[in-house]
């Protein structure tokens, strides 16, 4: 065996912590007492009184691999047979339990879930848990399956590789719960396509930072990769090509993959703008005019025609059935009125509706009609803030996502529930340790009453797709998105960049150990496991 000559990294770089979880639990007490964990003797089990379900059994299977064979873990996604072969090889290299000396072995994690397992996570999911690691048993108590999943992730992060014990955990007591219920991450698959495999790697990375909402900005002007049952030509003509689509089977697989990890899939079909790709197959967009003639350009969806809403009704009826989450994101951002203004049928319609020349009223009419369609399917909805800026009035149960700085006070004052994303546009790259600024941004950092603060459901980190696809999206996102993940989970006073940096360094190395290519964000340094492609 090589004797590793580890240099003192703190001289020249940020030294990773050892066995500290990310995001930081609300309350954690650790002692220096160490226990060994060994794959031959360790097992998960449930308490006699605990609720049981497939989510928990699958999680046991997953976390056993993550803890003991992390380097094979992602391979299970693509080549489970090869992954199993690698596990067999790794088992042969492990030391015997008897060689570990007289250290106490942690033999089992006993899980107790109080409430019957729910099938799908929701905004109201209870994610709290208690975890006690003491001598031979560790105990994980959670009200719901979702809390148990979060607790298992924390447990897996407490175990660290160690040269003398191989797998080590310290005596620990944790009581933990999230500060915000909605901890989201947006990926845009309309601008560039992102492969199914990469989406799964991303969901896995989210789960390891306890993010619980995947905001799937699935279509945009550039392409329509969603393979609709009702309107197959949407992807038939609107996708880049037939290989750049998410089939119904892909969607079902993603939904299940996310569900297993307690992640909601929050789907966005943006309208009335950002919809060019819809218009390649179906005549629902506004024909723009110059000098009173159609100029072959298409604008936002055309609210003057009933056929537009007939189409949307059928389409969202399908969406509501396919995506189980209670919320649908309706977009409503960046609607520019110039094309509507140029079109004579729209002018005619404006007159008929007595809107005068106030195109905000037309936008409001469009959105209200769409909202009625969506409400009729039993769903709630979220919109981008732009629509409020266009002076459109919405129902009070609307959730507004905030992409612009310093607007939280205004939106909550209007009584809308809100999600913060303005300070977490991860696609806006810059040189250096830019996670600091994401870490310091707090959803409560606005002037407002207690009532206003209560309207903040959480936030979302966003990776818009202009310059990312499967080649670079994972390394561009992770571990930068872990900064908002901790902001949204941990207590408000967990906000010191200096304290967080070594833990984030460990978290990134942990991602690497588990096969996720998270990039360096703290300046020079290294991880025991590096990424070779």
């Amino acid at each position: 065996q090589n004797i590793q000559q580890q240099i003192e990294l703190d001289e020249i770089a940020i030294k990773p912590t050892v066995g500290e979880p990310w995001p930081k639990p609300q309350s954690i007490q650790t002692t220096s007492t160490r226990f060994a964990v060994h794959p031959a003797t360790f097992y998960f089990l449930t308490n006699e009184t605990s609720q049981q379900c497939d989510l928990l059994r699958n999680a046991f299977d997953r976390y056993y691999k993550i803890i003991f064979f992390p380097q094979t873990y992602m391979l299970h996604l693509t080549d489970p047979l090869l992954a199993d072969i690698k596990i067999r090889h790794l088992k042969e290299t492990l030391r015997n339990v008897s060689d570990l000396g007289d250290v106490t072995l942690l033999k089992r994690l006993i899980v107790n879930i109080e409430q019957p397992c729910e099938e799908w996570p929701s905004l109201e999911s209870n994610e709290s848990y208690t975890l006690v690691v003491k001598r031979e048993h560790a105990l994980l108590d959670a009200a719901s399956i979702w809390g148990a999943l979060r607790g298992l992730e924390t447990f897996s992060q407490l175990i660290y590789p160690d040269s003398d014990l191989q797998f080590t955990i310290n005596e620990t007591t944790i009581y933990d719960f999230p500060r915000f219920q909605h901890r989201g991450f947006l990926l845009d698959t309309g601008t560039h396509f992102i492969s199914q495999k990469t989406l799964k790697i991303n969901l896995e990375a989210m789960a390891q930072s306890k993010m619980n909402v995947f905001h799937f900005h699935i279509v945009d002007d550039q392409s329509f990769p969603y393979d609709s049952i009702t309107y197959p030509e949407l992807s038939g003509k609107g996708a880049f090509d037939r290989n750049h689509i998410y089939s119904q089977a892909d969607i079902a697989e993603l939904l299940e993959f996310a569900r297993q990890r307690g992640i909601r899939v929050f789907i966005e079909f943006d309208s009335p703008a950002h919809s060019r790709s819809w218009g390649r197959a179906y005549d629902i967009l506004t024909q723009c005019y110059s000098e009173e003639k159609p100029n072959n350009k298409l604008g936002p969806m055309d609210p003057s025609r009933n056929t537009t809403f007939e189409f949307l009704k059928n389409f969202f009826h399908e969406v509501a059935q396919i995506f189980p989450d209670r919320y649908i994101h309706l977009g409503a951002d960046e609607v520019y009125f110039d094309c509507w203004e140029s079109n004579p049928s729209i002018t005619q319609f404006m007159r008929q509706m007595e809107f005068g020349t106030n195109y905000s009223l037309l936008e409001q009419y469009f959105m209200q009609t769409l909202i009625n369609i969506v409400n009729a399917t039993g769903k709630n909805y979220v919109v981008w803030q732009d629509i409020i800026d266009n002076n459109v009035t919405l129902q009070t149960d609307t959730v507004v996502e905030e992409p612009y700085p310093d607007e939280m006070a205004r939106v909550t004052k209007l009584g809308y529930k809100t999600l913060l994303s303005s300070c977490w546009y991860l696609n806006l790259i810059s040189y250096g340790d830019d996670w600091h600024k994401y870490y310091k941004c707090d959803p409560y950092n606005f002037t407002g009453t207690e009532e206003q603060k209560k309207l903040v459901m959480g936030g979302e980190a966003c990776m818009w797709g202009e310059y990312v696809d499967s080649t670079n999206v994972i390394s561009s996102t992770w571990p930068r998105a872990a900064a908002p993940a901790e902001r949204l989970w941990s207590s408000v006073d967990t906000n010191d960049v200096i304290e967080a940096a070594p833990r984030l360094a460990e978290h990134r190395c942990r991602y690497l150990r588990r096969g996720i290519p998270a990039a360096p964000v703290n300046g020079p340094g290294y991880c025991p496991t590096e990424y070779s492609g």
Binding site: N2, H192, Y467, S470, T471, S476, P520, E530, G533
Partner: protein, 580 residues
């Protein structure tokens, strides 16, 4: 010029005639349309000096296509012909066989004629890199003075092949190319000290370099942070100076990398930076470093000025003994390459001047300041280099200090007003160094680690900001030297300093951003329309994906079947991926 315009029109017609449903996204956002002409699917990058191609095309039958040369048993050529098979015929695609009856529409063979008939082992700076490429219906010929030009010709030929929508391999029926590089030195700097780059990743960088006709790997192998280069003479360097025993380049690893580069016509110039940037060396040999003082207290850091110890002590004879032995070893390891890069940058003399022994030494030797001491150190090391038969490359700092350098020293310019506000511009330095008779290489505007988001956005045009920024840099802008001096501006270098990159992201960060610089260094000065070039670069980026390089997107849109994570992705294909 008129020829070139004509060619593009032809290629354009060509693409439209066969790609019925090709979906081009010609905007960054719908409100920001891109100007420029969409590219032909087989437009080469960098753009050849002279290219004429017909609008009709010929097919290639993978089973009957032959490429051969007049040089027998030449490893550079044999290896290339083997290697390019997987590039001509991507392993995960089974290409249709064209109808063999119509032989006039089938390219049967390409013959490589190497005029010198010599199988060179290793490329030299002033080697002829030019080639001619002709395809006339069934036959092609690549004509080059030597093997390095031939490699460039094979690369261009490989880029002219493309797969049609109905899955045939095709190229233009008649092609005439005359090509040569504008600059002989086209470098990529990889820094393996701030983060370690695993060997498979370095090999993929070399593959990408060959696809962009870069021909120098400047391997910034050590620095303050770590010393991953295993020395057989001084094994303690890595034992104490590497991040860990897993973060090292063994002699076998180094030879593996050198051979991979050599076979692609790429020189490898190692950099061992002294007298600064040696904290990692100092972990093995603490006695070589200067103790920095704070007043009368030794080994005291004054942060922002100096660390406790971070710079070699030029007054100590054992430093030169070490350097002599070590540089000898380096010269043997990098046996074909005449140049070693000696660094000699960012030497801040405050630490030296704080040390009483050094102050005595200055007095005794009639030196008055840090610059004198640096001159003393540098001239000793440069003398060592001459005595072991090596040539030196240095960062400009030592030359800025007025040290007399051997006339064959290559000076690398990294300073510019945009980096250091009190510095003159890089064009001033280039003019000055070359006018003084030195060869000079430009790195200053090409620090690709300095990432920036966005669109270049004016009323006239919208483009990818970073691409536009680098593509628009001309090395001779504001150059004031005479014709001889112009000859001595030998090229440029894209640098990827590794504070924030490692194996996870260095490939997608460098490629295809460095390609902008590749074309600037290779192609004619009047290939300078970034609006058209961005479409060609997008095609080239897809080409790199097809060769297993995870090159990041430059425009909106997609790259066919080869994208990462898709079934036919080449990124994990063993032939392009060296972890297996």
């Amino acid at each position: 010029m008129s020829y070139r315009l004509h060619i593009f029109q032809c290629l354009l017609t060509f693409i439209i005639s066969i790609h019925h449903v090709y979906c081009i996204i010609d905007y960054i956002e719908a409100k920001y349309p891109l100007k420029g002409k969409p590219s032909a699917p087989n437009a080469p990058w960098p753009q050849p000096q002279y290219l004429n191609a017909s609008s009709d095309y010929v097919y290639i039958d993978p089973n009957f296509f032959v490429i051969h040369s007049n040089l027998k048993d030449c490893d550079v050529i044999d290896n290339a012909l083997q290697r390019y098979k997987s590039i001509f015929f991507p392993p995960k695609i089974s290409i249709q066989n064209p109808d063999r009856l119509d032989e006039s529409r089938i390219l049967l063979s390409v013959f490589i004629l190497i005029q010198s008939k010599q199988c060179h082992t290793y490329p030299q700076l002033r080697d002829d890199q030019s080639y001619n490429l002709t395809i006339e219906s069934s036959y092609g010929i690549i004509y080059a003075e030597n093997v390095w030009g031939a490699l460039n010709g094979i690369e261009t030929f490989s880029q002219l092949l493309f797969i049609t929508d109905d899955n045939y391999l095709a190229t233009n029926a008649s092609i005439y190319i005359q090509d040569w590089p504008r600059f002989p030195y086209r470098g990529i700097l990889l820094d393996t000290a701030r983060h370690f780059l695993p060997v498979p990743i370095i090999k993929q960088h070399l593959d990408a370099m060959a696809s962009n006709k870069f021909n120098v790997l400047h391997w910034h192998i050590t620095d303050d942070q770590s010393w991953p280069f295993v020395s057989e003479t001084f094994p303690q360097l890595t034992e104490k100076g590497a991040f860990s025993s897993a973060h090292v380049y063994t002699p076998e690893n180094v030879q593996d990398i050198l051979e991979h580069a050599r076979l692609r016509g790429i020189r490898t110039i190692p950099e061992f930076d002294t007298p600064g940037h040696v904290a990692a060396l100092g972990r093995a040999f603490p006695e070589f470093l200067t103790d920095c003082y704070n007043g009368s207290m030794p080994c005291q850091a004054i942060y922002g000025v100096h660390a406790e110890r971070e710079i070699l002590d030029p007054t100590k004879a054992e430093v030169y003994n070490f350097m002599n032995e070590f540089l000898k070893e380096v010269k043997e390891v990098f046996k074909y390459e005449p140049y070693i890069h000696l660094g000699m940058d960012e030497v801040y003399p405050a630490c030296w001047l704080s040390n009483p022994n050094i102050k005595n030494f200055l007095n005794e030797n009639n030196m008055s300041n840090g610059t004198d001491l640096m001159s003393y150190f540098a001239s000793q090391i440069l003398k060592l280099m001459q005595s072991i038969g090596g040539k030196s490359m240095v960062w400009q700092d030592v030359w800025d200090d007025g040290v007399k350098l051997p006339s064959d020293t290559v000076i690398e310019i990294w300073k510019d007003t945009s980096l250091l506000s009190d510095s003159p511009s890089w064009s001033y330095y280039l003019s000055k160094a070359t006018s003084e008779g030195y060869d000079a290489v430009l790195a200053a505007p090409f620090y690709l680690n300095m990432i920036e988001y966005g669109k270049y956005n004016t009323p006239e045009s919208v483009m990818n900001l970073e691409f536009f920024k680098w593509y628009n840099i001309d090395l001779f802008a504001n150059f004031t030297g005479d014709d001889d001096a112009r000859q001595r501006l030998i090229g440029g270098e894209a640098a990827l300093w590794a504070e924030f990159v490692d194996g996870t992201n260095s490939l997608s960060r460098l490629w295809p951003r460095a390609s902008a610089i590749a074309e600037r260094l290779w192609s004619s000065i009047d290939v300078n329309n970034p609006e058209d070039a961005q479409f060609r670069l997008d095609v080239h980026r897809c080409r790199m994906l097809r060769r297993g390089i995870p090159a990041a997107p430059v425009l909106n849109g997609y790259c066919g079947l080869y994208e990462v994570g898709m079934k036919q992705s080449m990124v994990n294909e063993p032939i392009f991926n060296y972890i297996h």
